[in-house]
Amino acid sequence: MHSFYNFVSGPLAWIAFLLFFGGSIFRIVRMLMLVAQKESFIFTYMSWRYSLRSIFHWIVPFATVNWRRQPVLTVVTFAFHICLLAAPLFLLSHVILWDEAFGISWWTLPDTLADVMTIIVILGAVFFLVRRVTRPEVRFVTSASDFVILAIVSAPFVTGFLAYHQWFAYPLMMGLHVLAGDIMLAAIPFTRLSHMLFSPFTRAYMGSEFGKVRHARDW
């Protein structure tokens, strides 16, 4: 069990970080190169003002017509994404790992709060799963990959939660937690989790087109 943990938190973690950072940079650079090669006009239309105006409206809950039309989804999706990013980044034990490994540390969340945020992520994933299966317009466009990415995202939180509360076999759970985290990091640039990387660009382009050319609002 010890060697498993050492492997997933050692070499595998390095590979995961490499794939995450390297892959993300690769994907974004390749997209920009493709724009430059085949659709360089896109750069002509980009506007900081209208890009940020559009992004701002869409990252504020209830600031757009569609967010207001879907109040439950809006609350869940914002809570889910905020907790998904903040909990792992500011979890005390993660920060300690960074501190021990590289001597860098930052602000941390109280453990109870992080625990609640973990539950929010898990419940959010359950909500998305149920929505995907029960809403006809979502089910119609659902493919196997949608369930896979949902599993990839929730696994680190489920295992982390179990490990933190030391339910079941703690060492195994800890190892699985790290493994799940590795998989998620590595998957971000190479699955549709890449919406994390691309959505600011697509939103910015649409915002620029709507604001600068069409003189209209895109929210």
């Binding site: 085949k38 659709e39 006809p136 979502v138 119609f140 549709r192 919406h195 691309f198 939103r203």
Partner: protein, 444 residues
Amino acid sequence: MAEPSKKENADVVDDGIDVGISRLTEEKIQSVINSVIDNETGARLKTYVETCIHCGLCSEACHYYLSHDKDPHYSPVGKVKQTIWEMIRKKGRVSPEFIRQAAIISHTQCNLCKRCAQYCPFGIDIAYLMLVVRRIIHLLGVTPLYIQDTAHSHSVTMNQMWVKGDEWPDTLQWQEEEAQAEIPDLRIPLEKEGADIMYSVIAPEPKFQAQLIYQAAVIMHVAGVDWTMPASMGWDNSDMAMYTADNEIMGRLKRAHFETAERLKVKKIVMGECGHAFRSVYDMGNRWLGWSMPPFTIVHAIEFYYDLLREGRIKIAKKYKPPITLHDPCNVVRGGGLHEKARYVAHAICETVIEMLPNREHNYCCCAGGGVINTGPPFKMARMDGNRVKAEQLFEAKTKGAEVLVAPCHNCHSGLEDIVHHYEIGLEIKFFSDIIYEVMEKPA
């Protein structure tokens, strides 16, 4: 491919589609799809497809989806799934029957109105994806017959309606004569070099709505505008080739239009109350020609009337009495931000303006635009069934007292005419120019 939707147009016969399909082979389909994807698309298609998380949030933006009792086949992403996703996933190996369905979906179940872009959290441009599908349909020769006919007309006559070279100035002179019975010194100046404004219209105006040219001439005359109309090809600003994704013809049309304005050395182009033509000259055709913004100042009729009214160049003798409701056309509102100016004009010329809801950028499409009405009679019911929500929206405005529906766009005008009759809503439909002509001060 996904199972067909509940009520499918399987029984629709369209010679453009059906004859085209009979000529297809799987090899031909595959080579065309892959050629379009490899050579004509780039980061947008790839990024849109890979970023979409299949959340379905675009669904309620779409009038087809809402009108079909939320049948997911009609949601924007549902239409993408049934067309371009499948083409990409199968690397172009799709059947002629699939292409038939893709032609019907892209040409008659999407108005390219871009309302869904305002509902997608990522701003994915689904109208663009549908145009990529139409591009493939065009190159496969499966475009619906009626709209293909207009594209052919553009190609041969440089106008949409097979108006022959001599018929055009003849119509203008006829309207000038008619108008002179009312205002003896009125002229429709032809080929006047160096005028401030070139006035351009869509081909249906001389073809069967010549009174609109009459009205425009009266407005120009009373306002003392220094204007001209071209006597040559290039007078028509319309562009159905844009909607068949026949981009080459779209480019020729816009070039002729811009070059005509250039030849006449005018300061700007003013166009009639048309939406799709505005999209073509302002948004798409100019870009195909390499102009990031149009090489001429393009003024849509709404903006033109706004300027005339605000500057007091036309005076309103007596405001229009019947209460009106105002339809916001997608191509000039979502596509040009003219909604507040349209309201200024409406309030300046009418006593009562009743808002329909949703409005401004969020207005429901007329279901005619995007070339859908131009697919003709075989698909008329697709428009009627596909826009029940518009009928409900109009009916609500009527219950609030509206008697007249102002639609400052030709496609909207015709499409709403059909909706109003089909659902028996009982609204009279007018252009702004109809009302301005009626209420303005004219020389006695």
